[in-house]
Structures are given as structure tokens and as C-alpha cells.
Amino acid sequence: MLRSRHTIPLIILTIVIGGLTAATAVLIDWIPIQAAEQAERVDSLMWFVVWASVAIFTLVTVVLIYSAWRFRAAPGDESDGPPVHGNTKLEIVWTLVPTVLLAVMAVWAYLVLSDNEALAQDRLVVDVTAEQFAWSFAYPGGEVGSGDLRVPVGRQVELRMRSKDVIHNFYVVEFRVKQDVVPGITTRVVFDPNRVGTYQVICAELCGVGHAIMRTRVVVMEPDDYEDWLADAETQVADQASPAPAPGTTEPAQP
């Protein structure tokens, strides 16, 4: 198939196009911050897929552009090309090679998925309620609630999510997690935050007029800070349930 007169131009084109494509992949800042263990696993898998894609795209584009240039009919040339109907060996190769590549991707993806969703024994379980157009979170004990999600770094968090009305979606870019919140059932998502910071929680399922602004934030804190915050919150809740006695009253109210 490849005669020597094709080889050099093909190599040159491959370098040019492959180079441009690779540069696009590498030089542009594609990848968001990684703030969870899930993110690292997903990103490596994605890079594999991206490089395989760069290779295939380069191959196809090189052949396409080269053919259009090299085999272009001279003006006035009305003749036909050679009556080649196929090449069984080549067809087998270009069926098997993608199959192998895709099989690798599938296996790797399965492994990443199981790792990403593996439940830890000591995970923090937070109940999430989504409604048009706000989030609310409830922490273990059932007392503490908040409008934004607060979690300690280094500990797995499991969210058990319910919707009051339509389908919403809990999405944090930096964790690489996303899960629909569906009325009538409880959906779950787990993540292992490993970077302190504040990140957006985005609703990623069209839920009506306010879909674009249904946002909140997730605050990943140092474990101590998290404990402090939790304690403060619990106190506040207790205060509200039974308000502090007014000065002057020494006895607690008798039932």
C-alpha cells in the first residue's frame, strides 16, 4: 500500500497535524482543579482516551488531506481510478486495532468506576434535599442543616439525595462527580475530597426557570475546622429549639 513516494509526505503531515492536535491537548488548560481522589482517577483515564483520540484524529485527517492533495485529478482528466474493491488484511487491521483500544478503555473505565464508588466504612453521610431552586443539606444527627455543603477534607462523603419536585442534579466540577436527584427515590453519590477549598455545587439537570441560578457551594475544611463548625451549628440549633433563659430567671421551665 505505502509506496516510498507517499511515506515522506505522510510522515511530514503526521508530524504537523499530530503536533497541532497534541499542542491543543497539552497547551490549553483543559483540566479543572482536582479536589477529590475521584478526580485524579478520572483524569488519568481521560488523558488515555484523549491521546488515543489524538492518534486516530491525526491518522484520519492526514490521510484525508493527503489524498485530496496527492490524488487530485488534473484539470480535464476524465479517467477513472484503479478498480480496487477492498483489501481484506487492511480491513481486519482497522477493525481489530480500534477494538483493542476500546477494550482497554472499557476495562480501565470499569476499574475507575468501581474505585470511585467504593464505599468507605467511616464515610460521612449527608442528606441532601433539592427543590426548585435551592439546595439544603442535613448532617448526621438530623439536627444540623445548611444551605451549603460543608465537609472535612480526607474523609469520604456520601450524599443521599432527594428531590421535592422535579429532577435536579448535584454536580461539583472539581470532584468530577455528578448525580441526578430524582423525586420518589433516593440517589447517592460518594466522593473523597482531598483539597481544602470552596467549590461550586451546580445543578446540572434542567429544572425550570431558575435552573441557571440553582447554585450553592461546597466548603472543604480541615477536620478541626469542620468539627468546630459542626459544634457551632449544633449549638445554634439547640439555642433555637430551647431559647436561652432571660437574665434573671434561674430555674429552667418546669414541665
Binding site: 484520519v60 474493491h85 429532577i167 448525580q179 423525586p183 420518589g184 451546580i202
Partner: protein
């Protein structure tokens, strides 16, 4: 503006009536029926709610549903889609071959119901491109809103409606019907058919797009449906009239799609030209057959899903309401079970178009034809098993995700095979970079990107990250614009000359391609980045940091729009005043290129014959099909020379059965005939006389026929003719099996084996072989004779006449009975007369003159009258036996008087000498 070349002889022989009713009649009818149905629907619902005591009486969505459905049906009735069927159903006489609503003679015919697939194809294209423009404007409105990071124009609800209607109209009213329309025009011609299997159903399909499309495009007026084209519950349940219009509109458009698909399937299965085996079908036919199967089996699922969500919303059922035990996610399963095959419905026909274009513009056979055919079917079949890859984060059963990932990944393999096969077709060819080829190449580049981003989306962990973001928006536009829009545009340019008879402007074509290509990539490539970075989809406001990129995209989309404007300008101006297109501007080989541009009313003069594959470029002398085309089409790939059938017969050559068969074959327009009379043991002069009769009749009918008498058997006959000219088929006329010596010798099979040609057998009964032909071209001679019958003189006289011109003889023997006809004497006289007549017939048969006879009670004058009035004789010959009754001048005068203008001649013969059967 007539859109078909003038018909030559209409081979079907039907007069082409024209619909006498003006355009305004039909539209008045349509308006009345629509308005009437609209009012009727309100009345009906009000009435039913009243009798069933339903409360409250006014539930708006019930009325909207009824009004939308019934008005659609009313419109279709009014515009005339059902007229013919109604008349048939109610038992009126209808003419199945009524072509008054067939073919376009002026622009008005495009605004009426028309059964011509070519007219319907153009109607489809006009409708879909109108919706394309409208949906495109909606997209521009979306980009206008997204030009700034905050909410600017209108409110969130309006915005949600914009992208919902944009997507719905693009999918159901542009891409899917555009492929249906292009195939509608081209496919029947490509398989050698005169039209689709069900032309009236075809017309109904295209007209259904009007009410269905109007419902969808007008929904913003009533409060647009705003839950996305996917219309997930429960959000869709919060919608109002707009959502109802979407749900009913989908049913109408879906029904149109299914009807068209059934039409295509039956057409492709049953109406391919002789010789077009499935492995000789062009790949566009493969693609449309597969797509049609997808439509037939997939579309009902979206119909079902929309029925259920409509019922939930309008009458309070609980299919998807968790409070009532319903399953929210079930909607998504049912919806995507169609909507994933839907994307293949939107791609596979495009793949077929690309196969045609790449082969033609690379001047090379398709590389891996069978692989491409199989991969098309594989994609369709596998496509039913991947739907849940749209639902990886939906909260569905977790165990389903990995199997769906695997099936989705598997589909990438046949898709890759296709791409590589197209590249293989281009490699080493003679490439002509015309506009269709540019779009085809642009398709390959862009679709590969879309496919690769699709593989990323198949990989579940990556999908979890990027689904419901602009990454998906990028992916879908890369595959839709690349896979659908580019292929549609490629097809439109490719077949523009065929459909309009004009050439489009090549420079404008290229300019429009490049602007669209660059604008498209600039618009949608950055969306990959936006998605990975976390911009969700279906939002009117987004993070500030994305604003610059969104503004760039907005400007790029205007560039793309400019490209489309150039395209429209090109199409419109070229159609109106472009240069006339030849029949085959691209030197393609498939059947549509072997007819005029545009094709004549019924496409082909005669059924084409497919003799080879459709992509045999580079093989000198290879043919895909033989098409008999009028002179002015001509060209290296059509045949204007007729092909020869050799007709082998002996005494059967001048029989009505054989003549009928020859005429029937001649009506196909493809054939000329060389007769070879295989004279084995008879008189060759007699055989020649018979042959001349046959040839004369055929010449009179305008059929090209010639012939010789060959001494020998049928093999010798065929060999003699083959030595002189190319013979393509053998027609063998024999007596019935059991009476035929040739059949006893297994002549048909032996001829087949030794010639390698098709052999048709025509069965001629002996009586038919001896009966004289009374057809134009044969002079009818009535012989009035008494004792003269059975003499050699009679035979000689008629033999002489036969040598001069072909004759058919009717022997009339007047007995001149004076008394009652039932006496013994009369009986004796009659049987003697019959014997003489039979002897005369035998004698004449031996010299090759076919005759029949009658014995009459009356006299010669009566015989003459019967000859003239009953048998339309061209001349009367009185054969008078010397000394017999007919010799007298009175008899002659009486005959002349009775004959009127028909010439009468008298010949006197010797009665004693009996006719010798072997007279020459």
C-alpha cells in the same frame, strides 16, 4: 415551471389527466376543514365532559390536545390527502391509474397534494429548509442571550423555550425529514422504479409535516414547551399549552415518519429493477432500508412515552408520578429507547449519501462495499442496545451502566470501519474537489471529532464528569452538523442538477462550504473546553470566567450563519437562472444519472435492467444498468440501441399468441426482434410467406422486426442470427407440450445451455397457429367459392397473392340453399362443403397461407356481405369452378353489388383437379 422533461410515449398507455381544480379550491377546503375540526373538537370535548358529568368542564389542556389532534386531521382531509381512499372505501368506482394528481406542470402543483415522488421530494426540501432557518434563528437567539454571563433577554422561561424548540425543530422537522425528502426524490430512480410503492401515502406523509411542524414552531406563542426536547418528567408536567403542542406534534411528525419508512421498505424490497440483487444496490439504498427499519421499530417508543406523559399531565394518570406508584426514570428509559436509534436515523442516510459522493468524485469503487453494508446494519441493530448511555447519572439501576458502556463502545467499531473505508475509497483515486466532495470530506473530519468525543462520553467516569455540560452540546453538534447537516448539504448539491435541471454555482458552493466549515468549528470546538471546565447546559446565566469564550462562540456562530446565507443565495439564484444541467454532470453510474435532469414524469421509458454493481469505476466496459434512453440523453452509459431478441418458430410464427407476446415485450422499449423460422421439413417458401405476415403486422405496429427462414432446427436458427448480430434473449414459440416435437426434445433447456441466454417460451395452440391474423398489416382476402374449394387452382391463386403481400384468408362457401336447412340433403351438402373447406385450408396451410372457413346457407351475394361486414375483407376473390354456379356474370354482379367498395375479382379454376397438399 415544469419540473420534468416532456414525456415521450407514455408506455403505460394512460392518458395524463390534469387536476382541473385550481389551487385556491384546495386551500379553501383545507381552511374550512381545519376551522371546522377545530370548532368540532371543542364541541366534542364539552359535550362529552357534560354527559359524563366531568368537573370542571373547562380543563384547558384537554381541549388543546383534542383541538391540536382533530385540526391536524381536518387539515389533511381538507387539503385532499384522503380523497381517493375515501372514495375507494365508500365503494365508489376509482381508477387506480388515475394520475391527475401526479407530476408538476407549474409551481402551483407544489402547493397541492401530489403523488409524484419527485414533487414530494421537493416539497419535503422546501419545508425542511424553512424549518431549518427558523430553528437556526432560535439558536441565534440563544447565542444572543449567552453573549453575556447574566440573564439579559426575557426571562429564564423564555430562554428554556428557545433551546427546547430549537432542538425539537432541528431533529423532527429538519434532519429526519430532510433525509426522507432527498431519498424520496432519488431512491425510486436509483432502483429503477417509476415511483414509490405507495404514492398517496407518500403525499400524506409530507403533508403531515405541516400541522405537526406548525404546532411545534408556534408553541412559543402559547408559552413554549421549556423542558428541553427531551421533556423529562416531572419538569414537563409543569408545562402548559406549549408542552401539549409538543407532545401532540411529536405524534403527528412521528406518524409521518413511520408511514414514509414503511413506504421505503416496501419499495426497496419489491420494486428494484430486474438484476438489482442486494449486493448490487447502491449504498444509499442500504442506508435508507436500514434507517426505515429503525424508524418503524423505534418511533413508536417515543409515541408511547409522549402518550403517557400527556395523559399524566392532562388527565391525571400516574405513570411517572412517584406519589402514585409511578416510576420517574421509566420515562427516560422509554424515551431514550427511541431517541438513541433516532440519532442513527439522523446519521445512516447521511452515510449512504457520502458513500455515493465519495465513489463518484474519487472515480473509484467503494472500498469494502460489503463491510460498509454490514456495518450499516450492525449500527442499526446495536443501536437498540445502547440507550441508557444517556442515563449514566440518572439514578437508574447501577448495574445497567457498565453493559451499556460496553455496547456503546462496540458501536464505535463499525462506525470506524466506515470512516476507514471511505478513506480507502479516496486513496489512489482521481479526486475532483467539487462542492459535494468538499462537504463529504468536511463530514469525515468533523464527524470523527464528534465520534471521538462520543467515545469519551461512553466511558462512564468521564461521562459522569462532562454529561449535562457544554461538552455534550459540543458532541451533539459535531455529530449532527458533521454527520447530518454536512451530509444533507452534500446531497443537496450533488443532486441539485438532477432535481432542478440547473447547475448550482460552483464558486459560491465552495465559498459557502468554507465559511460554514470554519464558522462551525470556531463555534463548537470551544464548547468542549467549556464543558470540561464545568459550564452546565441549558442555562441562560453562567460563571463570569466563561464570558469571553461565549462571546467568541457567539461571533463565530454569526460567521457560520453567513455561510448558510451564501448557500441559500446559491440555491435560489441557481434554481431560477442557473445554467442548464446535463443528464450526468458528475459522470456517475447509478441509475438516477441515466435519465434526464430533471427526470420525465415516470422516470424511465422502460424498466431498466441492472447487470452489474453500482461502483464499477475503472473497469472498461463495465455496466451497472442498461437503460433505454431517448436520443437527446444519450451518452456512454445509456443505451439508445435496442437489444435483440431472436424469435424462433416454425408454423407458429404468424399466430396471434406470438404476435401478442412480441408486442408486449416491445412495449418495454428495450427490444428489437429478429425472427428465425426454423424450417426443418417443410416448404421454405411457405415458411417465408408466414414470416412475411408476422413481419407485416409488427411493422404496422411500429415494432422493429426482421427475419429469415433458416433450414434446420432451432439451434441452427439461433446460430444463423447470432452470426450476424448480438443476440440477447431467445423467444421460442412451440405447440403445447404433448403436441410439440421441440418440447419433446427438451428444446428450451438445451437452448438455454448452449446459448447461455434467457429463453422465453410462447405456447401456441395449433388452431391459433393456423388461424389467419386479422390485424393491420395483413390484407384480408375473402374467398367466395363452392366447388372451386379444394382445387389446386384456388391454392395457386392465393399463393400468388401471398407472394405479393401478406394475406389472411377467409373461405366462404355459399351453399345456395333454397329449402329448409335441416333436411338430409342440406346436411349432405353441408358436410361436403365442410370437407372441401377443410381440404382447402390444409392445402393453403401447406403453402404457408393461413386461413379459416365458413359454410353459409345463403348465396354468393350473402357471402360477400358477410365478408365485408363481418370479416372486414380488403378484397373478395370469387373462385368459380368451370361450369359452376359462380362462373356466371350475374353471380359476379351480385357479389360486386353486395361488396360495395371492396374490390372483387373472379378466377375460374378447373374443378376436376384436386388440390395437391404438397403444392408449392
Amino acid at each position: 415551471m415544469a419540473t420534468h422533461a416532456p414525456t415521450h410515449s407514455d408506455p403505460s398507455g394512460h392518458a395524463h389527466h390534469v387536476d382541473p381544480r385550481p389551487l385556491s379550491y384546495w386551500w379553501k377546503r383545507a381552511t374550512l376543514w381545519s376551522a371546522g375540526s377545530f370548532l368540532f373538537s371543542f364541541g366534542l370535548i364539552w359535550f362529552m365532559r357534560t354527559i359524563f358529568g366531568m368537573d370542571p368542564l373547562w380543563v384547558s389542556q384537554v381541549y388543546v390536545t383534542a383541538a391540536a389532534s382533530l385540526t391536524s386531521i381536518g387539515f389533511l382531509i381538507g387539503i385532499g390527502c384522503f380523497d381517493w381512499w375515501w372514495q375507494w372505501m365508500t365503494g365508489r368506482r376509482v381508477d387506480g391509474e388515475d394520475h391527475s394528481m401526479h407530476g408538476a406542470h407549474s409551481w402551483r402543483d407544489y402547493f397541492k397534494v401530489n403523488t409524484d415522488h419527485k414533487v414530494i421530494g421537493v416539497q419535503y426540501m422546501a419545508i425542511v429548509f424553512t424549518f431549518f432557518v427558523l430553528a437556526g434563528l432560535l439558536a441565534e437567539a440563544v447565542r444572543a442571550e449567552l453573549f453575556t454571563a447574566g440573564q439579559t433577554l426575557g426571562d429564564g422561561e423564555t430562554y428554556n423555550g428557545l433551546f427546547s424548540v430549537h432542538a425539537t425543530v432541528m431533529i423532527f422537522l429538519f434532519v429526519i425529514p430532510a433525509f426522507a425528502g432527498l431519498a424520496n426524490y432519488i431512491l425510486p430512480i436509483m432502483i429503477g422504479a417509476k415511483d414509490m410503492a405507495f404514492p398517496r401515502l407518500n403525499a400524506l406523509s409530507v403533508w403531515m409535516l405541516i400541522p405537526g411542524g406548525l404546532m411545534m414552531i408556534l408553541s412559543p406563542v402559547f408559552g413554549a414547551f421549556s423542558a428541553g426536547w427531551t421533556a423529562y418528567v416531572p419538569l414537563a408536567n409543569q408545562g402548559g399549552t406549549g408542552t401539549t403542542l409538543f407532545e401532540v406534534g411529536v405524534q403527528v411528525v412521528g406518524a409521518s415518519s413511520i408511514a414514509t419508512a414503511i413506504n421505503f421498505l416496501v419499495t426497496i424490497f419489491t420494486m428494484r429493477a430486474p438484476g438489482m440483487t442486494v449486493w448490487r444496490m447502491p449504498l444509499l439504498v442500504w442506508a435508507n432500508a436500514t434507517t426505515s427499519a429503525l424508524v418503524v421499530f423505534g418511533t413508536p417508543f417515543i409515541a408511547g412515552s409522549q402518550f403517557m406523559t400527556l395523559f399524566d399531565r392532562v388527565i391525571g394518570t400516574q405513570f411517572f408520578d412517584p406519589a402514585g406508584g409511578g416510576d420517574v426514570i421509566a420515562y427516560q428509559h422509554i424515551f431514550w429507547f427511541y431517541s438513541h436509534p433516532a440519532v442513527y436515523i439522523m446519521m445512516l442516510p447521511g452515510f449512504g449519501i457520502i458513500s455515493e459522493i465519495i465513489a463518484t468524485f474519487s472515480r473509484k469503487p467503494i472500498f469494502g462495499y460489503r463491510a460498509l453494508a454490514f456495518s450499516t446494519v450492525a449500527i442499526a441493530v446495536l443501536g437498540f442496545g445502547v440507550w441508557a448511555h444517556h442515563m449514566f447519572v440518572s439514578g437508574m439501576a447501577a448495574w445497567l451502566r457498565v453493559p451499556m458502556m460496553i455496547t456503546t463502545i462496540i458501536i464505535a467499531i463499525p462506525t470506524g470501519v466506515k470512516i476507514f473505508s471511505w478513506l480507502g475509497t479516496m486513496w489512489g483515486g482521481k479526486i475532483h474537489l467539487k462542492t459535494p466532495m468538499l462537504y463529504a470530506m468536511g463530514f469525515i473530519g468533523v464527524f470523527v471529532i464528534g465520534g471521538l468525543s462520543g467515545v469519551m462520553l461512553a466511558v462512564i467516569p468521564v461521562d459522569i464528569q462532562v454529561t449535562d455540560t457544554y461538552f455534550v452540546v459540543a458532541h451533539i453538534h459535531y455529530v449532527f452538523v458533521g454527520g447530518s447537516v454536512f451530509t444533507i448539504f452534500a446531497g443537496v448539491h450533488y443532486w441539485f442538477p438532477k432535481m432542478t435541471g440547473k447547475m448550482y454555482n460552483e464558486t459560491l458552493g465552495m465559498i459557502s462550504f468554507w465559511i460554514i466549515f470554519i464558522g462551525f468549528n470556531a463555534t463548537f470546538m470551544p464548547m468542549h473546553w467549556l464543558g470540561i471546565q464545568g459550564m452546565p447546559r441549558r442555562v441562560s446565566a453562567y460563571d463570569e470566567r466563561f464570558e469571553a469564550v461565549n462571546q467568541f462562540i457567539g461571533i463565530a456562530s454569526i460567521v457560520m450563519t453567513l455561510g448558510f446565507l451564501v448557500f441559500f443565495y446559491n440555491m435560489i439564484t441557481s434554481w431560477r437562472s442557473g445554467p442548464k444541467a446535463p443528464w450526468n454532470p458528475w459522470r456517475g453510474r447509478t441509475l438516477e444519472w441515466l435519465v434526464s435532469s430533471p427526470p420525465s414524469l415516470f422516470n424511465f421509458e422502460a424498466t431498466p435492467q441492472v447487470v452489474g454493481g453500482p461502483y464499477q469505476y475503472g473497469i472498461p466496459g463495465a455496466r451497472h444498468a442498461v437503460v433505454f434512453a431517448p436520443e437527446e440523453i444519450g451518452g456512454e452509459l445509456t443505451e439508445t440501441e435496442k437489444r435483440t431478441i431472436v424469435v424462433v418458430a416454425d408454423e407458429t410464427v404468424a399466430s396471434a399468441a406470438l404476435i401478442d407476446e412480441v408486442r408486449h415485450r416491445a412495449s418495454e422499449g428495450l427490444w428489437r426482434f429478429t425472427f428465425a423460422v426454423a424450417n426443418e421439413d417443410g416448404d421454405s417458401r411457405a415458411a417465408d410467406r408466414r414470416l412475411q405476415v408476422a413481419l407485416s403486422v409488427l411493422a404496422e405496429s411500429g415494432i422493429d422486426a426482421s427475419g429469415t427462414v433458416v433450414e434446420g432446427d432451432p439451434f441452427a436458427a439461433v446460430a444463423a442470427v447470432s452470426a450476424e448480430e448480438d443476440v440477447h434473449e431467445v423467444m421460442l414459440a412451440t405447440y403445447p407440450t404433448g403436441m410439440s416435437a421441440w418440447m419433446a426434445d427438451d428444446m428450451v433447456d438445451r437452448l438455454r445451455k448452449s446459448t447461455g441466454l434467457g429463453v422465453t417460451r410462447v405456447v401456441v395452440r395449433p388452431e391459433d397457429a393456423r388461424a389467419p391474423l386479422s390485424l393491420p398489416g395483413v390484407s384480408q382476402v375473402a374467398v367466395v367459392a363452392d366447388e372451386g374449394l379444394g382445387t389446386a387452382g384456388l391454392v395457386a391463386a392465393l399463393r400468388e397473392r401471398a407472394d405479393r403481400r401478406p394475406i389472411g384468408v377467409i373461405l366462404l362457401s355459399p351453399m345456395n340453399l333454397t329449402g329448409p336447412g335441416w333436411t338430409d340433403e342440406a346436411e349432405e351438402a353441408r358436410s361436403a362443403a365442410f370437407d372441401r373447406v377443410r381440404a382447402a385450408i390444409d392445402g393453403l396451410q401447406a403453402v404457408g397461407v393461413q386461413s379459416r372457413g365458413e359454410v353459409l346457407d345463403g348465396d354468393a351475394a350473402a357471402a360477400a356481405t358477410i365478408a365485408v361486414t363481418g370479416h372486414r375483407a380488403d378484397e373478395i376473390l370469387v373462385i368459380a369452378a368451370r361450369g359452376g354456379r359462380l362462373e356466371s356474370d350475374e353471380a359476379l354482379a351480385a357479389v360486386r353489388a353486395a361488396a360495395g367498395t371492396v374490390p372483387v375479382e373472379r378466377i375460374v379454376v378447373d374443378a376436376e383437379a384436386p388440390a395437391s397438399p404438397s403444392g408449392s
